[in-house]
């Protein structure tokens, strides 16, 4: 298992959250999640402007094996979706914490990400 980036926050449902300097948060799925799913073939993202509640399904990630829901780790409004994933969803397999990001939110509560798991706690969850 590759190491978990320390600057991210994590949800038990295997999404990560990166607080950005402009107050938005970027969301993707963890290396553990992409590895469990296997070859990712499709990412269904929400529309820009969609308002998400914490824990709400914001999209679907499909692999050869199965389709899995994506859950918003924090509440907020979608301000961007990753356009690269339409044609190259396998980017999520290759760079789950980088070019494979999925959506960017303007969080309803700027402090919400802080309540999520840190790398150590998420690492402990994975065992």
């Amino acid at each position: 298992m590759s190491s978990l980036p320390a600057d991210l926050r994590y949800a038990k449902s295997h999404e990560w959250v990166r607080p950005e300097a402009d107050g938005t948060v970027t969301i993707g799925i963890t290396d553990y999640a992409q590895n469990s799913l296997g070859d990712i073939t499709y990412v269904q993202a929400p529309k820009v402007g969609a308002v998400l509640a914490a824990g709400a399904v914001f999209g679907v990630v499909e692999s050869v094996k199965a389709a899995s829901d994506l859950y918003a780790p924090v509440a907020g409004t979608v301000v961007a979706v990753n356009p690269a994933l339409d044609g190259a969803p396998e980017t999520v397999n290759r760079e789950p914490y980088g070019a494979g990001w999925m959506v960017r939110l303007k969080p309803a509560d700027p402090a919400a990400a802080g309540a999520l798991l840190d790398a150590a706690a998420y690492g402990a969850l994975l065992g």
């Binding site: 296997g38 070859d39 073939t41 499909e62 397999n93």
Partner: protein
């Protein structure tokens, strides 16, 4: 959970990063690196698959040829030593017990290769049908390993390891020989749509043979390929998989395998009467193959809808074609609906099915 069965290559796979899963009660590699990458490697260069979980039965005796011709739907009388035949094996009602390969070694000596998931049931079925015939049926599965070397470079890789002239072995023919000094049956068959060989050998030689093939093939682009790629390759080629396109409820005629049902082969066979009636009346449901122009995979058991939204069938197999980069699959649909617009609902989006006659991609097999 019961203990999973292991092929002689289980540790070989684990040491090479395989993701091992339960497949029909066997601990098998579903992938090593990436299903999509392994699939593309087979279409581009070559892939090596462990399919030792499959079953092998010897059928021997003066009555073997006549017995086998009664057992399966294709015409065993067309075989000769060194020739291989693909055939469904049916119940009296025309449903499929299994689909298999029949190999003829000599006049009274045949062997069958059957699906792992059906092995025990097949053996019981074949032995029950053999009563009254002068044949001996012997299960050789445990002592037999099977490696499939598939892809446009498979022959070049294999020829470097054997004195047997591979150019003289045609498609669906076989020979016995040695590969890397290991006795093998070299069968020019496969389940990918590419040229290549399936190598039957003693279980105790499997690791040595796999290592020799990998070492010889790696410079030519050979990669280990798992059951995930095997499934997407066979679907892209339009080959049926038992339990999906063939089953006790799907006859070979419904599956579009009419060419494997020789109703006039000159002897009665299991399922003949039902299949004659089905051919005359038409199959009430039939298997169709589709592409979608969309990346969303249509999963098995998803309802297939007609233009009015009524359920007229269900998806049997579905994957993303790594070559076409779109979802492909098969479905069982009511015959009357099969020529009209069909669609599958994926999470609220209606995805129309574009029916095609497989293969989905140009194939390299000879």
């Amino acid at each position: 959970m019961t203990q999973l069965q292991r092929t002689p290559l289980r540790d070989f796979h684990a040491a090479r990063g395989a993701r091992l899963v339960d497949f029909a009660g066997w601990e098998m590699p579903v992938q090593y690196r990436s299903i999509l990458e392994e699939h593309r490697a087979v279409r581009r260069a070559a892939g090596l698959f462990d399919v030792s979980h499959m079953g092998e039965f010897d059928v021997r005796g003066p009555g073997a040829a006549a017995f086998l011709n009664r057992l399966v739907t294709n015409d065993v009388a067309r075989l000769f030593p060194g020739r291989v035949l693909y055939s469904p094996m049916c119940y009296p009602d025309g449903g499929v017990v299994d689909d298999l390969l029949v190999y003829q070694r000599s006049a009274d000596d045949f062997f069958l290769c059957v699906n792992a998931g059906n092995l025990a049931r097949d053996l019981e079925w074949i032995r029950a049908q053999a009563a009254g015939h002068d044949v001996t049926v012997t299960d050789r599965s445990a002592e037999t390993a099977l490696l499939a070397l598939q892809g446009p470079r498979a022959v070049a890789i294999l020829q470097g390891l054997t004195a047997t002239s591979l150019a003289e072995i045609g498609y669906y023919h076989f020979a016995t020989g040695e590969v890397a000094g290991i006795p093998c049956v070299l069968s020019r068959t496969g389940y990918t749509g590419e040229d290549g060989f399936e190598l039957y050998h003693a279980a105790g030689d499997a690791v040595r043979l796999a290592e020799a093939l990998l070492a010889a093939g790696a410079p030519l682009g050979l990669e280990l390929a798992g059951l995930g790629a095997r499934d997407s390759l066979r679907l892209e080629a339009g080959y049926p998989l038992y339990g999906h396109e063939l089953s006790p409820a799907i006859s070979p005629l419904a599956a579009g395998l009419g060419w494997t049902v020789k109703l006039e082969k000159g002897c009665d066979f299991l399922g003949r009467e039902a299949l004659v009636a089905e051919k005359r009346g038409g199959s009430p449901r039939r298997v169709v193959y589709f592409r979608t122009g969309d990346r969303r995979i249509l999963r098995p058991d998803s309802p297939v809808l007609n233009a009015a939204g009524a359920v007229v069938g269900q998806v049997l197999s579905g994957t993303l074609s790594p070559i076409l980069q779109e979802a492909i699959g098969s479905a069982l649909v009511e015959a009357a609906a099969a020529t009209l617009p069909l669609a599958v609902d994926v999470r609220g989006t209606t995805v129309p099915l574009l029916l095609v006659r497989p293969p989905f991609v140009p194939l390299g097999r000879t």
